[in-house]
Symmetry: C2
Subunit: 595 residues, 2 copies
């Protein structure tokens, strides 16, 4: 399949079965050992490496060519595959039982000394690796990432094709929308003074495709967000984006589970248990203090509010009386594993997430326990009720935060993750999938002084909550769902509003002016007049999926040509200055205080 | 596969095999006939249509719901499939032998009266169709286009995956390059005053991927060109883009032929003859006056220069003496088919392509032929030599142009196409594929006063022509190849320069300053230092391929959400005004004379 004018086989395939055969190979010189009269080179291509041998007695007049070979030279060799002598077998190489005794050698291209070490254990800094990305990508581990990425794309596409999804390309030159993250803008030359926006997602187009009767759509879509980058974000990223008509959540979720299971099976050889657990957002917050619970370990949250609501300790009882709660985690048998300093640091950690403090109890049977400050403030009955509730035993720690529900849950949720790290709970090789469902539809944004959509304004409310849209918007649950694995949101979606009247109510709940609605979503409101099927969909973060599959922490490692935190491509040196003539053509200027 | 909560089958599948079964269907009301007490509706989804019947006696209390149905209402019905009576069978419908007697009906959504007629024979203007694209896309023929497009994408991907190509995404936010067509620019917010360019093609990235050792790459890549639109162009379009390492042209061409043959087989059921003919650019110009010859018919060009070089008719002999030629086409038996007025129009047509005039002879056996003006000027021997060369007989027309080779060939090439149209030569249902090879590498650009690349500056010269790069650049042939079918260039590519020295010579031949080379292509020149494999590739116009496969003339018909000639998306009303805050964020202003 890979044979060409330059090769009869690829390096990684040259094994015992080929002994005695003449092969023609092409690739890069990966390492070179000159023993005088005999030169050994590991020849590398995408498929792997094989040792090729230049023996002066065999390669004859071409031996001086072999002497010129240096690392990363591109070679074309022809020779005979032979078994290595037992003492020279290299068990670390897949082709380590054989070598190729070369008859003919051509140097196809030379190489200067590479500025990075072209091996998996290279320790070069990321900036130099990105500047010389073409050398970085020669490392087997990086080639494997890109090949796995391609394999997953192929599994996804074939799966969705088989399930009646139609791959449809939506525009990259789109409409700029002020809602949500910042758009990248593209000035129009033909309509000077106007701008396209690069899509943050194909959300409206995919809904329009459902209104178009396309029934099932998907796309591996490039999306763009002009954000200040965190470790796990890129200005352009890829989504597995899909939408289905005539469905409820119960139609969508199993299809998506099966797809993800197929990917994990084919790439990791892991059988995922299905159906995935479904958990309401409320339960996820109550038990894990997170809308993306990491279920690889326990340390679940407990609500102690009923026990402590009348406590004489005002920090607890006041928080509860104001409508908040006291949330606790018991860390079994943790006393030997967390120093006093660690406890202090845990409190600091909880405070990052807005907790005012962190109360803790070291459960002991003797009097020394009474040194725990908190125990001075709560009654013996309260203590006992807490112990009973949590099943506390000597050697355990109990941690507590009293605050609004939101803060108490979130801070304890974060504390839970930090505890797991500090207790070194083994979470390796586990994939705990679940769906989080029934999210709040809206949340109040203090800054804007209005409700904003937790997902986006096209998410359908649960049918039974529709009446609350006008009376108690904060209580409305959405028919949204996130697929979560190991504390990471892998994808999310919802059933969409397919009725113009409800969409209008939603815009009203968001307090959007009619003008804003008309300018931004006028075409959707118009489209909703002409017969819209019930529909819903989902998008997976493709980059994140690859990271999860391959245990990779840095999103830049799963993208062929990533950008740095300041949006630079260090290899091509983009972004760059534009020509004045280009700007004049577009009718724009760079503001003077920048130049 | 398509079953959901709302349906047990899709409309197009409800046939004789389902008679007696209860089915649940969902779709759009496509037409409605109320016979009083019985209402017939064609229910439509992506798969097709089926007639559903609401009989007051059967649907009972739900009949008033059925009475409300209007066109494009979204319905959910449950009923029993039954055979139609013989006299009501509709042979035009695939499901025309059956109908569904409805028990239950739900209106899922209503519809206002659509502004276009949602049928294949709708005659609405293109602008209203694009504004209501979601209604336009409900037409079966348009859904078929998008589904075929998806099918071809799937064939391409599976084929390339099987042949060792790795799908890799290259950046959309790229580097702006001043060569070639105009870039779309994207102002950077993080690096104010700088700009990304949207890629016109992933050319340099795919070469970098070969230098990275990825061996075989492909991508269905979105590409962008900020041009004034012709009928067959869009500001964003899709390329099937690929590149291979360790190959010559003889490796690449058969793989691409097989892929295209597979597509034509699976979509059109046509077996293409392989291998495709290969024709040098020179031969294509000499025989067809075009670098993309339409080989569905003859009317080939002939060079009469040897016969006419000493003619006393100076228009001919002077052109030849200046290094040009006289090119002729014989249109057999055409005298009855072309009026005197048509001949005049043909001359006008040739003049569009810079011919100074068009000479013609109506071949007759009698004296009346002497009315042909041209015959007064050439000798009897010259006439006879021309007749012998062309095999002229009574009833034929001979057309001639004398000019530089370039103008004479091009004008006659265009005349050839026009003649075929006027002579109504049947070209239907033929696909005549060929490769045009050995293009000129460079052409002199009078305006810029320098040579420019015919393809792009990374195209390799033929090995044997490399010495000419410095001495006679216009004579250098490139190792480029275009796949041509029926006069349309479907794709093109080349073997690339893989050696830094030759790349430098190329930039010199193009008279690019060192600074320009450094700024624009510095990273490529740097990459070429570290061991580059011989490589080459190709890109097909995906939109154009679909047009060719489906006999569609308008590129907008094969794109889900196309833009108009002034780059507008009429549905979303993009491009649009940007907010002042967005522009301030980006550090740019719209020039005042525009506002």
């Amino acid at each position: 399949m890979m044979e060409t004018h330059f090769r009869s086989a690829v390096c990684g395939e040259v094994n015992e079965n080929k002994v005695g055969q003449t092969v023609k190979l092409a690739g890069w010189a990966d390492s070179r050992r000159d023993l005088g009269g005999v030169i050994f080179v590991d020849l590398r291509d995408r498929s792997g490496k094989v040792q090729v041998v230049f023996n002066e007695k065999i390669v004859g007049s071409e031996f001086p060519i072999a002497e010129k070979i240096r690392d990363e030279y591109v070679l074309n060799v022809e020779g005979v595959v032979q078994e290595r002598t037992p003492e020279t077998v290299n068990p670390k190489m897949e082709t380590g039982k054989v070598e190729v005794m070369v008859n003919h050698i051509t140097i196809l291209d030379t190489s200067a000394t590479p500025p990075i070490y072209v091996k998996d254990d290279d320790k070069s800094g990321e900036n130099v690796r990105l500047k010389y990305r073409y050398l970085d990508l020669r490392k087997p581990k990086n080639q494997k990432i890109l090949m796995t990425r391609a394999k997953v794309a192929s599994i996804v596409r074939n799966y969705l094709n088989e399930h009646g999804f139609c791959e449809i390309e939506t525009p990259v030159l789109g409409k700029t929308t002020p809602e949500g993250a910042r758009d990248f803008l593209v000035p129009s030359r033909v309509q000077k003074g106007k701008f396209f926006g690069l899509p943050q997602s194909p959300q409206l187009f995919k809904q329009i495709l459902m209104i178009s009767g396309m029934d099932r759509y998907y796309q591996l879509a490039k999306c763009f967000r002009d954000e200040d980058l965190r470790q796990d974000r890129q200005p352009e990223f890829t989504q597995i984006d899909m939408e289905m008509s005539f469905v409820t959540k119960d139609d969508i979720l199993p299809i998506m589970e099966e797809m993800i299971a197929k990917i994990f099976k084919e790439v990791r050889g892991i059988e995922l248990e299905r159906p995935f657990l479904r958990m309401t957002w409320r339960e996820a917050m109550d038990r894990f203090g997170s809308d993306k619970p990491d279920m690889r370990f326990g340390l679940e949250l407990n609500d102690l509010s009923d026990i402590l609501k009348d406590s004489s300790f005002n920090v607890f009882s006041d928080a509860i009386k104001r409508g908040g709660s006291v949330r606790a985690i018991i860390a079994k048998d943790a006393q030997g594993k967390l120093s006093k300093k660690a406890l202090k640091n845990l409190e600091k950690y909880a405070k990052i997430y807005k907790a005012k403090g962190l109360a803790w109890i070291d459960v002991k049977d003797d009097e020394s326990q009474m040194k725990t400050p908190i125990l001075k403030f709560i009654s013996e009955e309260e203590k006992q009720a807490i112990y009973d509730r949590l099943g506390a035993e000597e050697g355990d720690y109990i941690f507590m935060v009293a605050d609004t529900d939101q803060i108490a849950c979130t801070a304890m949720g974060q504390l839970r993750l930090e505890l797991a790290r500090r207790l070194k709970i083994d979470v390796s090789n586990q994939f705990k999938f679940l769906w989080v469902i029934d999210f709040p539809l809206l949340e109040y944004d203090e800054e804007q002084g209005r409700y904003v959509a937790v997902h986006h304004p096209f998410t359908a409310p649960l049918d039974e909550d529709i009446p609350l849209l006008e009376t108690a918007p904060e209580k409305v649950r959405s028919d949204a769902y996130d697929m979560v694995v190991n504390g990471v949101e892998l994808g999310g979606g919802s059933i969409r509003i397919h009725n113009g009247d409800i969409q209008e109510k939603m815009f009203k709940a968001l307090n959007l002016s009619e003008e804003t609605v008309q300018t931004q979503f006028g075409f959707l409101m118009e489209a909703l007049k002409y017969g819209t099927p019930p529909h819903g969909g989902l998008a997976f973060g493709f980059d994140r999926l690859i990271m999860m599959l391959m245990d990779i922490d840095n999103i830049r490692d799963v993208i062929a040509f990533p950008k740095t935190q300041n949006h630079s491509d260090l290899m091509t040196e983009a972004p760059a200055d534009a020509g004045l003539d280009q700007l004049i053509d577009l009718g724009i200027s760079v503001d003077e205080d920048i130049v």
